[in-house]
Amino acid sequence: MPKEAIVRTIGLKKTFLLGKIPLHVLKGIDIEIYRGEYISIMGPSGSGKTTLFNMIGGLDKPTEGKVYIDEVDIAQLDAYELAWLRCRKIGYIFQTFNLIPVMTALENVMLPMIFGGMENDEAMNKAKSLLETVGLGERLHHKPFELSGGQQQRVAIARALANDPAIILADEPTGNLDLKTGKEIIHLLKEMNKNKEVSIITATHDLKMLDVSDRVIWIRDGMIERIEDRENLQIKVGEVEGEE
C-alpha cells in the first residue's frame, strides 16, 4: 500500500507584525505526514510549534505556502467548509484542556457530534462509549472543574475523537500534567492511534513522547532542523536527556 499523505505543507511561512516590525515565526516548512502516523514535533519554546499547528489545523492563515489536508488545499475552503473540516476531519487537544466550562464531560464530548448533525441519542451513546474508552465511564456528568487535570485531558481526548477524525492535533497535551499522568495520556493517545487508525501529531517538550512516535520532527527558529524515524531515535534520547 502506498503511503498516503494526510497532511502536507509546502513552503509554509508565517509572519506576525508586531507593530511595524515583522516577526518571521515560520520560515518555510515542508512536511508530509502519512495516514496513521504518530508524529512528535519537538523544538525549544518559541520555535513555532503552536504556530505550525494552527496552520495545519486551519485555525489561522499562513502568510505564504500551502497546507493540504487529505489532498485538499485548505486555503480554498470557504468558512463553512473550513468549519466542517475542523468538525469532522481534525480533533484538537490543548495544553490547557479547553473544555467548555459550563458543560459536563458527556456534553463536552457530544458537542462536536451535535455540530456535525448527529442525532442527540446517538451522540450521547457514542460520547458515553468514548468516555468509557478513556477510562471516565464513572464521571460522565461531572463538570470540568470537578475533574483533575488528567481527567480533563481524557475528556478532551474523547472529544477530539468524537467525529472519528483523520487527524488529532495535540499541542503539548502533557504540558500541564505531572509525570505519571502525562505518561498515561501519552499511552492513551498511542492506543487511539493504533486502534482507531487516526494520525496523531503532537507538539511537545516531553521526551516520554519520543518512545511512541513513528517520526520526530525537530524544529528550531521556524525551520525544520531534522526529521528522524523511530529506529534512529533510541540513541538520541539519552543524549537529549543529558542536555537538559
Binding site: E71, A79, Y80, A83, Y92, N98, G117, N120
Partner: protein, 216 residues
C-alpha cells in the same frame, strides 16, 4: 495525475439545533451569574424608568377620563410641559441602558474568548456563536424587562396611591397599563439584542488561533 475527491462536498452539514443553543445560553446565564446581573440590572433600570413614566401617563389618562372635575383641571396644566421632558429622559435612560449592555457583553466576550475559539475548533460556525450570544442577551432582556416593568409600575402606583388615595382604584387604567407593559418589555428585548449584536459579531469573527491564545 488526476486528483479525485469524490463526494467530498456531499454530506457537509453542520447544525446547532435551537434546543442545544437555548440550553447553552441558559447555563451561561446561570453560571456567570455576576455578569448576568450587570447586564440584567442595566435593563431593569432603563425599563423601570420607562415604565414608571408610562404608568404615570396611564394613571393621568385614567383620571382625565373618569376622575372628578376639580382634579382634572389641575392636572391639565402640568401635562403639556411634562411630555417634552419625558421624551428626553426616557431616550437618555435607554441610551445609557444600551451602553451598559454593550459594555457588559464586550467583557463577557473577552472573558470567553478561549471558549469561543474552542467551539470553533469543534466545528461551530460564526453564526452559532452569534446565536448563543443573542439568545443569552434576549433572555436577559425578557427577564430584566419584566422585573423593570414591575418596579416601574410599582413606583408610579405608590405615588398615585399616596396622592389620590382610593380614587386610584376607581380610575385604574388596566388596559392602558397592560399595553404599556407589553411595549416596555418588547423595547427592553430589542434594546438587549441591539446591545449584544456588536459584541457577538466581534467574538464570532475572531480567528480560533487568536481567540485561544488570549490569556484571561
Amino acid at each position: 495525475m488526476q486528483e479525485s475527491v469524490p463526494g467530498k462536498k456531499i454530506d457537509k452539514q453542520l447544525t446547532l439545533p435551537l434546543r442545544h443553543a437555548l440550553n447553552m445560553s441558559i447555563r451561561n446565564i446561570k453560571i456567570r451569574f455576576g455578569r448576568s446581573i450587570i447586564v440584567t440590572s442595566s435593563i431593569i433600570l432603563g425599563i423601570a424608568f420607562l415604565m414608571s413614566i408610562l404608568a404615570n401617563n396611564a394613571f393621568m389618562a385614567g383620571i382625565l377620563e373618569k376622575g372628578p372635575e376639580h382634579i382634572k383641571i389641575a392636572l391639565q396644566q402640568d401635562i403639556e410641559e411634562m411630555k417634552i421632558r419625558q421624551i428626553w429622559l426616557v431616550s437618555l435612560s435607554l441610551l445609557v441602558c444600551v451602553v451598559g449592555i454593550v459594555n457588559a457583553m464586550l467583557m463577557a466576550v473577552t472573558e470567553r474568548a478561549r471558549e469561543i475559539g474552542t467551539m470553533k475548533c469543534l466545528g461551530a460556525l460564526d453564526k452559532y456563536i452569534v446565536e448563543i450570544f443573542l439568545l443569552e442577551s434576549s433572555m436577559q432582556g425578557v427577564i430584566g424587562s419584566i422585573i423593570g416593568v414591575i418596579f416601574g409600575f410599582a413606583a408610579s402606583f405608590i405615588v398615585y396611591l399616596l396622592k389620590y388615595k382610593g380614587l386610584v382604584w376607581s380610575i385604574f387604567p388596566t388596559e392602558l397599563l397592560l399595553k404599556y407593559s407589553l411595549f416596555s418589555i418588547l423595547l427592553g428585548v430589542i434594546i438587549s439584542v441591539i446591545g449584544a449584536i456588536y459584541p457577538a459579531y466581534v467574538s464570532a469573527k475572531m480567528e480560533p488561533a487568536e481567540a485561544i491564545r488570549r490569556e484571561v
